[in-house]
Symmetry: C2
Subunit: 237 residues, 2 copies
């Protein structure tokens, strides 16, 4: 049920994604090449950007895994999303001048970067690029809407089901198994994202396992009964 940036491969030429993927695109229009900044490697726990950082570039995850989170004045923390290879990161700053969230690597990761100021100029001359930027932003907003729906009108077990199905879909769209994957984030991070307590999330994993819907071993998850999981999104299980 979650939409995420970067599901479908882009058509031809020098799309936003091509530019960010970097390495493989040696010969683009000059304006585009100018945008490209050196890629960056992060260790687990390192921050790609933090709340309030000036918005300078947008990123694509080339390898690894990230979470984004917010911390409010009272120290309340909220994980707002998870990002895997192929996902764009930092779009939240696209509309303004600074980032509203922070992005933290959940494992050793590589990101491609594009300088936003230059990208904006390029997009003025290139309507396709401009449209792509807008489309990515639209996906970001759609993601927000879905998160609000999840947090505002689902009970705990529905939220976890939605989360697992979303992960499954995203792994599948990248050519990995839809039924078996490794969740890089901790239970606590999942719980925060789902608006639950850590223990509640853990219990729900166990309960799904007991019902034979999934198999769990730490971060390794296997979806045994995908329809059963989907059913838990709707009525009472």
């Amino acid at each position: 049920m979650f939409a995420h940036p970067g599901q479908q491969a882009q058509g031809a030429g020098h799309s936003l994604r091509d530019m960010l993927q970097g390495a493989g695109v040696p010969q683009g229009p000059a304006t585009m090449d100018l945008c490209r900044l050196p890629p960056r490697r992060l260790m687990r726990g390192e921050r790609l950007f933090r709340t309030g950082d000036p918005f300078i570039s947008i990123y694509i995850v080339r390898r690894g895994f990230f979470k984004t989170r917010m911390v409010d004045g009272d120290g309340r923390e909220q994980v707002t999303g998870f990002f895997m290879a192929g996902d764009l990161l930092g779009l939240d700053g696209l509309a303004g001048t600074q980032h509203g969230v922070e992005a933290i690597a959940l494992e050793e990761s590589d990101v491609g970067r594009l300088a936003f100021a230059l990208l904006e100029m390029a997009s003025r001359e290139n309507p396709t690029l401009h449209r792509e930027l807008n489309a990515e932003l639209a996906r970001e907003i759609l993601r927000h809407h879905e998160t609000m729906m999840l947090l505002g009108s689902m009970v705990a077990h529905e939220r976890l089901a939605a989360f697992l199905l979303d992960m499954s879909r995203r792994f599948a769209s990248r050519g990995y198994s839809a039924s078996e994957f490794v969740l890089r984030m901790t239970r606590g991070e999942i719980a925060s994202f789902l608006g639950l307590q850590l223990e509640t999330a853990s219990r729900l994993f166990s309960s799904l396992a007991k019902d034979g819907v999934i198999e769990v071993r730490n971060k390794h998850v296997r979806i045994v009964d995908a329809p059963g999981l989907a059913r838990r999104l709707k009525a009472a299980s």
Copy 2:
């Protein structure tokens, strides 16, 4: 704790808001005048736009009150925001091609409209306008973030306190009383927005009233002890 479009008055000239406010701005640059569409009046319950509608124009509330809501495939409903005079509406479509939510008038209301396609062209020639559009979008995203925080990491009584303080701030920023106002939405709509059941929201109103923090009579609310209300955002009351 909520950010909303349209807090501060805009500086000089023909800003986005001026254009939308309409009537008072007879002599703008031609490109801008072209964008302006006839205003619209809606009766209570009428929809300004609905989910999936092509994104054609953005709106400003000139008079009245709106809610936006989403309905997902399973019929789950979620109110995503409330909009009063001065607020921009329909920005969620700005990034894409269609609206992801629907907007419904909570009372007889008037809106100003700008044709987006023309507006986009105008913004290409006018960097200030372009920046304004981006700033509005940024506010929209900030609002989403704050809603996620509210839904994901606050308990019921904190959510209601946050809601009331937000309303208070927004009324105040429009020159109305910060301590006494009429909530145009029903308890059910407030509850949906806060991710609660109607009865829970109602009880929380009563409980705040019993504690002498607010006075309530139907939709009329008076904040008696604003600091007390603010205190309920943090620790246990």
